[in-house]
Symmetry: C2
Subunit: 423 residues, 2 copies
C-alpha cells in the first residue's frame, strides 16, 4: 500500500491520537533531543498506550526517527526516539543591524543554506531587502523541499508596532513594514521575536543554557541588551520592554552621551562603537578609521589607553551583571556580541567586578560564560522561535505530520544529504 | 431532605462535576471577586452546562454566593456569583522580625482575629512561640468553626532550608525548626512563602497591583527586598534568591557597612535602622535612643541633617528602582515597609531620581505608588498563599466543598457575623 494511503488508513484505524500527545512528545524531544520510550512516558505523563500510538504515528509520518541510546545502568543499547531534523525546514532571519542574515535551517536549527547582506552605515533598510534575501535562500529548493518549509522566524532589534512595522532608533529604521512585506511575498506564517529573546532561546536550545530554567544573556555589540529566561520562559515585561540594561546607569556622573539622549548609560560606555569612541577621544585618533578589533589588538599589545577603556567597560558590565544576578538569581549568565572577541581581556575584569559587588550567597552556583554559538546564534534562535510556534499551532502541526509529505525523499526515516548551497 | 444528604445525592446524580471546573471557577472568582454566569463561562472557557453544574454545586455547598451585578449596558441587575468569604478560614502568620503577627482570616483575607507578639531585639525566636500564637487566634473557635480552618499560610523573612528550618542572619535566627513544630502541633497543611512574595501577592489580590500581571514591590524596613510579579506569577529565581536588591550597590564607593558583610549595599543606606544610624553618626546623637520616626519628625521640622540622610536614601532607592524598571518593564511599582511613613519626604526624591536616570520610553506607563494595605499586608498575603494552595490541592478542595460542612451555620449561603475576638 502506498505510504500516504497507509498513513490515512492508520489515522482512520486509530482516530484517538490527540494532537496534544503529538505536541507533548515533540515539545519534549525538541528540548531533550533523544529519549527512550519509558523516558517519554514518564516525562510527558501520557499513558503507555497513548504514547505508543503517538510515537508510531510520528515515526510513520517521518517526523521522528529511531535511534539507539546506551542504558546507563545495564550498558545495553535500547530503543530511543529523536526528531528527524530533515522533516521540515524553517526560514530564519537575523536583522542584526548593519547586516542582514538569512538562513534555511532544518528542524534542529542546523543551517542548510545561508545568505548575508551588508546594509552599510546609514543605508536605508527597506522591507524589499528581506524579501530578496529569503528568495535567495529558498530559490534552489525543488517543490518537494519547498513544501517542507513550515514557517519563517525573525530575530529583530528595536521595536515592532502592532501593525508589524519595525523601528530601531540606533539604526535609523523607522516603521519599516516588515510583516506586511513578508506576508505578501511568501505563503508561510511569520513569527517575530526581539533579538534578546532569540539569543536566550538559542542558548537554551543548543548552547550553554541547555537544560537551564533561569538564565541571562547579555549581548554587547552596537547596543547592549539582556535576554532573560525565567522558569523556562523568556521574560518580556508588561509591554515587551524588559532587559533594557543598556540604558541603566552604573557609573554615576558619567558624561558619555548615549544614542537614547541620556548620559552615562551602560551602552554609552561598553558597546563596541563606544569603546572605539572612547579610545579615539583619549588618543586623538580619528574614530572613523578605527575598528573595534583595532582597539582590541592595541589592548592586547599592551596599549595603556586601550586597556583603560576596556577596564572601564568591563567594570560597568560587571556592575550591571552583579545587579542582574542579585535580582534574577540565574543559574548561568552568558555573554555574547562583539564583546566576546575581547573575552581574554574583559572577562577577568567582569568577574572581578561581579565578585567585588555581589553578596557571596548570590554567587554560590552561578556561572558566567561566553556564548559558543557564534555568528549564527540569532539564526538558530529564529529557527527555535519557528519550531516553538509550529508546536503551538494545530494547522502547522498538521502540515509537519501531513501524510502527503510522506512521499518526499527525506521522510523515509533516515536523514539524507541535501543538494543545497552551503556556505 | 437534610442538606448533607441532598448534597451527596446531587453529587451522585451529577457525577460529572470535574474538580477542574470547580478549581477554574474558584480561581477566577479569587481574582475577579464577582462575575456573572456569562462572564464565568467566557473567561474559563467551560461550556455552559459544565459551568452551570459546577456553579450549582458550589452554591449548594456554600462556597459561592449569589450577588447582583448591575449590567453596564442595560443598567439592569443581573445574577452574579461571588466567593462566600466565610466558607473557610485560614491561619495566617507574619514572622516580620522584631514582632510576630498571627491572624485568623476568612477566604478573602479579612482578618477575623489577630494576635501580635513583640520579640524584642536579640531575643531568641523559638518555634514554640509560633505554636502558642496560633493557639491564641484559634482557641475561641467552636468545633464547627475549627472544622472550617483549611490551612496555615506563613510569610517568612530569611531563608528556609529543605527541612523547613528558618534562618535569618539579620535577625539572628538560625535553623529554627518551624515546619516541624507547626506540623506537630496542628492538623492543618502548612504553606510557606518569602515575605517578598506574600507582599506582591497581597497587592495583586487586594491592593494596588490588582489586575496587574507585571508589578514590583519594594519593601524597605529592617532590610530591603523586592517582590517581583511577572506574567501573573511571582519570580523566584533558580534557588529562590531573586529580588535581592537590598544587596546591590547603587552608590559606588559608599563605605556604609551592611549586615551581610559588604559595603555600600542599598540596605546599608536606605533601610530604616541605617537611616537612624546615619543621622546619629552625623549629629553625634546616641543611636540607641533614636527611632526612625524621630529622624522623620526632625526632617519634617526642617532639620538639614535629617533631610540630607533621607535625600541620600531616596536617591539610592530611586537608582535601584530605575534599574529594576528598565529590567522588568512593570506596570506598577509599589513601595512598602517603614519607608512609607516618610512618603511625603522620600517619594518626591525617589520619583525625581527615577526620572533622571530612566529612559523615558521605559517610564511611559509605569506608576510608582505607596502600598495601602498597611501592617496587615503580610497576613493578607499569607491568606492568599493558603487560598492559592487550597485551589491546587484536590484534598483541600474537597474539604472546602465537603457536604459534611453544610450542616454548619455559616453555610446557609449568607455570610453571618461571628462571635470572635476582634482587635
Amino acid at each position: 500500500m502506498p505510504t500516504a494511503e497507509r498513513m490515512a488508513s492508520r489515522r482512520k484505524r486509530s482516530p484517538k491520537i490527540a494532537n496534544q500527545w503529538l505536541r507533548q512528545i515533540l515539545r519534549l524531544l525538541y528540548r531533550r533531543r533523544s529519549l527512550s520510550r519509558i523516558g517519554i512516558v514518564e516525562t510527558t505523563g501520557l499513558n503507555a498506550a497513548s504514547a505508543s500510538h503517538a510515537l508510531r504515528y510520528l515515526l510513520d509520518c517521518g517526523v521522528l526517527l529511531r535511534s539507539a541510546d546506551r542504558c546507563r545502568l545495564t550498558g545495553r543499547h535500547r530503543e530511543a526516539f529523536t526528531v528527524n531534523a530533515e522533516a521540515g525546514h524553517f526560514v530564519a532571519l537575523d536583522l542584526e543591524g548593519d547586516r542582514l542574515r538569512f538562513g534555511l535551517t532544518n528542524l534542529l536549527g542546523d543551517i542548510r543554506c545561508r545568505w548575508e547582506e551588508c546594509l552599510g552605515l546609514g543605508q536605508p533598510f527597506a522591507a524589499e531587502k528581506v524579501v530578496e534575501g529569503i528568495g535567495r535562500v529558498t530559490r534552489d529548493l525543488d517543490p518537494t523541499q519547498l513544501g517542507r518549509v513550515l514557517a519563517v522566524g525573525v530575530s529583530y532589534p528595536g521595536l515592532l508596532d502592532a501593525e508589524g512595522r519595525l523601528s530601531a532608533v540606533n539604526l535609523g529604521w523607522t516603521k519599516v513594514p516588515l510583516l506586511a512585506a513578508l506576508k505578501q511575498a511568501f505563503p508561510w506564517p511569520v513569527f517575530l521575536e526581539r533579538d534578546k529573546e532569540t539569543c536566550i532561546h538559542a542558548e537554551n536550545w543548543l548552547g550553554a543554557a541547555h537544560d537551564c530554567r533561569n538564565a541571562l544573556f547579555l549581548i554587547a555589540e552596537g547596543g547592549i541588551g539582556m535576554g532573560i529566561l525565567e522558569g523556562g520562559e523568556h521574560l518580556l515585561g508588561a509591554r515587551g520592554f524588559s532587559g533594557e540594561i543598556g540604558h541603566c546607569k552604573f557609573i554615576p556622573g558619567a558624561e558619555d552621551l548615549c544614542n537614547c539622549g541620556q548620559k552615562g548609560c551602560l551602552e554609552a560606555i561598553a558597546s563596541s562603537p563606544n569603546i572605539v569612541r572612547q579610545y579615539a577621544e583619549r588618543t586623538g585618533a580619528a574614530s572613523a578609521e578605527l575598528r573595534f578589533v583595532d582597539v582590541l589588538e592595541r589592548a592586547r599589545g599592551g596599549d595603556a589607553i586601550a586597556l583603560a577603556v576596556f577596564e572601564r567597560a568591563g567594570r560597568a558590565i560587571g556592575s550591571a551583571l552583579s545587579t542582574a544576578i542579585s535580582l534574577f538569581d540565574p543559574e548561568i549568565v552568558i555573554l555574547g556580541g562583539d564583546l566576546i572577541l575581547a573575552e581574554d581581556i574583559v572577562l577577568p575584569i567582569i568577574w572581578d567586578q561581579i565578585r567585588l559587588l555581589t553578596r557571596p550567597r548570590s554567587l554560590e552556583v552561578v556561572q558566567v560564560v561566553v556564548s559558543r554559538l557564534g555568528l549564527d546564534i540569532r539564526l538558530k534562535g529564529a529557527a527555535s522561535l519557528a519550531f516553538r510556534n509550529v508546536l503551538e499551532a494545530p494547522e502547522l502541526m498538521q502540515r509537519l505530520c501531513a501524510p502527503a509529505r510522506d512521499a518526499a525523499p527525506a521522510l523515509d526515516r533516515r536523514p539524507r544529504p541535501r543538494a543545497m548551497k552551503e556556505r
